[in-house]
């Protein structure tokens, strides 16, 4: 394989029901930086059906060009038609770099495509950079449950493929584009005979809400019970923030799964993260440690959460949270 034949930074522009996933804009933001280092272009690959009206927003978010693949088979996400369309696009456009959000869709699609075109794929990256010597992509990701970071390269195969953890890269400020460059690509997508999407049932989605939240109040195992979780909700309401939880609370059924922050839940980056009764397992920290300011309340002085908290309070959350709610009320009145 001659790696010189491949150029440009490509982003899989994930959309569901005509809504572009937030992580797509984060990827475009990062792709702009990478393309600047490579003196190349950013291309967004937009797959779906009747989705052409979404294309200009991708240019506004940083794409130099949008390639639209519109096909009825792509109306809903399904592994085989999407893999087929994307593999055809790789063959046609020969990208040097192809990025996906590390969403459920991205992490299903990217491996299938990487195996089809026989190239390397790095999962769930939290950092991407161009090596100035080789001009290759350095993909950094957590390993061993977040205990260790590893930088991965893909020296001799193209495209260099990565899925990127949502909430980590920064989207750029959207700017209007007078003449968005949009082109259509229509590969043959035969309907798969072996696999059939029967139904799509949308669950209540909190993704946007948690991802956008400036203030998050999260409860952990230390909260003790579903009933007591009301304390977390009251505090969130007092602060105008969103409620989140660590994995044990979700597994215990106190809180819905889409409220889970951590390795197997959401990654969040609010201005303020209050961790209440959360010990701070590395899997949880992976989802929130980029928060600007972290306050932790925990009874156990040795809890790992205190190592990353900007302000840690060792004490009983059942005493402190009600006092805090009162204190916030007073501060608001006097403010």
């Amino acid at each position: 394989m001659n790696t010189q034949d491949f150029s440009g930074v490509f982003v899989f522009a994930q959309q569901v029901d005509g809504q572009i996933a937030r992580v797509t804009f984060e990827l475009l933001g990062k792709a702009r930086e990478l393309a600047a280092d490579l003196e190349g272009e950013v291309t967004a690959l937009l797959l779906g059906h009747d989705i052409a009206p979404l294309a200009p927003s991708l240019c506004e978010g940083g794409a130099d060009r949008v390639v639209v693949i519109d096909d009825p088979a792509l109306r809903h996400y399904a592994t085989l038609p999407y893999a087929q369309a994307l593999s055809a696009a790789i063959e046609r456009y020969r990208p040097a770099i192809l990025l996906f959000g590390a969403t459920a869709i991205g992490r299903d699609l990217a491996p299938r495509v990487s195996a089809r075109v026989r190239t390397g794929l790095t999962a769930d990256c939290t950092e991407l950079a161009i090596d100035p010597q080789t001009r290759g992509l350095c993909m950094t990701r957590p390993a061993f449950g977040g205990n260790l970071m590893a930088t991965i390269v893909c020296p001799d195969h193209r495209p260099q493929m990565a899925t990127v953890r949502p909430g980590v890269m920064r989207a750029i400020e959207r700017a209007p584009v007078a003449q968005p460059r949009v082109e259509s690509f229509q590969p043959a997508i035969p309907p798969p005979e072996t696999c059939q999407l029967v139904d799509v049932v949308r669950r209540v989605a909190h993704e946007a809400e948690l991802a956008d939240a400036r203030i998050i109040v999260a409860g952990g195992r230390g909260v003790g019970s579903r009933d007591n979780f009301a304390l977390i909700e009251s505090l969130a309401a007092a602060l105008g923030g969103s409620v989140a939880a660590s994995r044990p609370c979700v597994e215990a059924g106190w809180v819905a799964k889409d409220r889970q922050v951590g390795q197997t839940g959401r990654t969040v980056r609010p201005s303020l993260y209050l961790a209440i009764g959360i010990s701070g397992a590395i899997q949880h920290l992976a989802g929130m440690e980029e928060s600007d300011f972290i306050v932790a309340i925990n009874r156990d002085e040795t809890a790992p959460i205190f190592a990353i908290a900007d302000l840690g309070i060792v004490g009983d959350l059942n005493q402190i949270v009600p006092a805090l709610i009162a204190g916030i009320g007073e501060a608001r009145q006097n403010g």
């Binding site: 299938r112 893909c154 072996t194």
Partner: protein, 261 residues
């Protein structure tokens, strides 16, 4: 019906610690376990066996000591086990791993392949879909419910904001998540049989007729350039022995300083 379940032996990452002096993983004393998602996949296979009858093969790729998870799988109820092991497979990334496992699975011609969504040591979630691609069969990732329906499998897949109901004709591959079920325990009789009586079939490179360029380090497009411990942010302030009101006050002051209040 023939089912192959891929199981991986992993260090229990909840128990992994980093040596602060060297920045390397402290592996001593860290227990090895069957990867949790794989265990859910095995349980799903065993339930199909209970319900409709099936021959369940547990398959693992790894060093010789990985046979421990295969014995565990048989003690839970798998009929047989197969270990894919060879020095030539060392250093494999997900593409080389999936190529090797797919070659082993091809020799078994199963109706259904089940893998876990992801392993807790690598967290890539790549090997399952990649195996399906190599085998040229459909895959359904993130299965939270599966149901056999004639010569097809109905799968409820858990995506981020929606559940997909997908119907796959056999043969197909499913990746399992923890929500799929509660895995059973090993039985005493099963333990006895698995460790004392049953054999584990070993497949090496010679058995699988794989090209040198497709396996191990050579067959791996990706390379680890470096690994390093995660940079910790500077320590904050921890306050102890405050009354509830003092604690609340300390937090309120911090929130004011952060301009949240």
């Amino acid at each position: 019906m023939k089912i192959v379940v891929c199981v991986k032996q992993v260090p229990d990452t909840h128990e992994v610690r980093i040596d602060p002096a060297t920045g390397t993983l402290i592996r001593e004393g860290v227990p090895s376990i069957m990867n949790p998602d794989d265990k859910a996949g095995l349980e799903a296979a065993l339930r199909l066996k209970d319900e409709v009858g099936a021959r369940v093969t547990a398959l693992s790729m790894g060093p010789p000591q990985a046979e421990a998870v295969l014995r565990e799988a048989m003690a839970m109820g798998a009929d047989e086990a197969c270990l894919v092991t060879d020095r030539a497979f060392g250093g494999a990334d997900t593409l080389a791993t999936s190529t090797t496992l797919a070659a082993a699975i091809r020799t078994m011609a199963p109706d259904l392949v089940i893998t876990g969504r992801q392993a807790i040591d690598g967290d890539t979630a790549q090997v399952g879909p990649q195996i399906a691609e190599h085998l040229g069969i459909p895959n359904a990732s993130y299965a939270e419910h599966i149901e056999l329906d004639g010569d097809a499998l109905n799968v409820r897949q858990q995506f981020d904001e929606a559940t997909h109901l997908t119907r796959l004709s056999l043969p197909c591959l499913v990746t399992a998540i923890g929500e799929l079920n509660q895995p059973r325990y090993m039985t005493p009789g099963g333990v006895f049989e698995a460790w004392r009586e049953k054999q584990i079939r070993v497949l090496t490179r010679a058995d699988l007729a794989l090209d040198e360029g497709d396996i191990g380090l050579k067959g791996s497009p990706t390379r680890v350039k470096k690994s390093f411990p995660k940079a910790l942010k500077p320590a904050g302030v921890t306050r102890r022995h405050l009354t509830a009101d003092e604690a609340a006050q300390a937090i309120v002051e911090a929130l004011k300083a952060q301009r949240v209040l």
